[in-house]
Symmetry: C2
Subunit: 215 residues, 2 copies
DNA sequence: CGCCAAACGGACCGATCGGTCACCTTAGGT
DNA sequence: ACCTAAGGTGACCGATCGGTCCGTTTGGCG
């Protein structure tokens, strides 16, 4: 039973500020994860902290609004791909679109990976996404392109797994996830064996030297 | 330049409390991640909060001590497997051991996945682990068991990826990671195709209904 | 036993966070 | 131009955290 503030206000300054807030929050959450403070988001949007809570009843509410937007977007992409000619390629494209969202958005990873951060609506959106993945997978399976025991749930779960595989490389090799998507896809498909499309990373990148525990 | 308190104190109560603290911290970190408070760890160990900081100069120091222990353990397991008869099986067993650590320890996942939580020693331990994985992989590759362009870095990165793939299923199906380990291993190996050893999950588990953002 | 350095413990500090509220500004209809 | 309700704002609150400090306890040696 999440308390949601009225969808879109009427006054012009209110709609403008709501837009600014959503943009700022999306950017900030994506870059630094769910731990960014409301104050920082407000400052980034150029409004006062109180304004945030006028538009969103809580931080979780703001976060959910943004997560829902991306989940719906991915679901739409998946639905569109159901009409594509090549079922296997469609499934692969869907997975690529999914991993790209994970890669670009740190908060997205955290929310998907931690159920305690998920509102009821987010959970429902994830399940809808699973359903679309199920259809895409079934279509590819009927064509014999994927192993018979691979499900849409597998596919959705793999999105997060692929992102986390490539995560340590993101700073130095932002496209490395393509390598692991290919590897996972090769694990999913039956007999297609081709060389990986991305060169192997030479080393684990040494990240920033600070070792703080706090956020 | 991490400030580390003297390894092991002399007085009997001090050694006992240090042991209690390490055990309590390992358990608590494993179950609830790096965000557990020092106060809670102290209470769980049956000592005062000040005692924690007598033994470890900071929370990061305590965390690093525990992470180092597990990293060293895994490295030893990998080194031992270098002597095993079947190189491919040895690599697979190493990966299984690695994923099991990830699965059992939430803080371990968080530290490996977030460089800002890694002390210099932890980073070094991860690199040593990478080296061992490299040797294991090279051995399997020489035997023709893995694709020629798969590296030890790939293997280490996949450990985290596999864990995160199975993470949402952990509550209902604690052994599900074996399915994704097999899938990843099939992606790594050349032509070995066998049916997955774990049945596909029927649904995404619906987790606890709370949606708090705070720790 | 008696002593004292080492260890213990918890009140305390400063910082930070999400969220509230009472006061002020302003959009926009008349 | 004016009025009013909706919107904006930042000081403020309570909770929590990592870390400190100093008065108290205790292990173990002479």
């Amino acid at each position: 039973m999440s308390r949601t503030t009225p969808a879109v206000p009427s006054r012009s300054d209110a709609v403008r500020n709501r837009r600014l807030l959503l943009d700022a929050a999306a950017r900030t959450f994506a870059e630094r994860g769910v731990e960014v403070s409301i104050g920082e988001i407000a400052q980034c949007a150029g409004v006062g902290k109180g304004t945030v809570f006028r538009h969103f009843s809580s931080k979780a509410d703001l976060l959910a609004a943004i997560m829902l937007g991306m989940l719906d977007e991915l679901e739409s992409a998946g639905t569109a791909l159901l009409e594509a000619g090549d079922p296997a390629l469609a499934l692969r494209d869907f997975m690529a679109a999914g991993v790209e969202i994970f890669v670009r958005d740190r908060a997205f990873c955290e929310v998907v990976g931690r159920p305690s951060l998920q509102s009821e609506q987010v959970r429902e959106a994830i399940h809808r996404l699973r359903d679309v993945a199920e259809e895409l997978t079934a279509r590819a399976r009927r064509q014999g392109a994927v192993r018979p025991d691979v499900t849409g749930t597998d596919v959705v779960l793999l999105l997060s797994g692929i992102q986390h595989t490539a995560a340590p490389l993101l700073v130095t090799e932002p496209e490395a996830w393509r390598r692991y998507l290919e590897l996972a896809f090769d694990g999913i498909t039956a007999d297609t064996r081709r060389s990986l499309p991305y060169p192997p990373p030479r080393r684990l990148p040494l990240a920033s030297p600070d070792a703080q525990v706090d956020g």
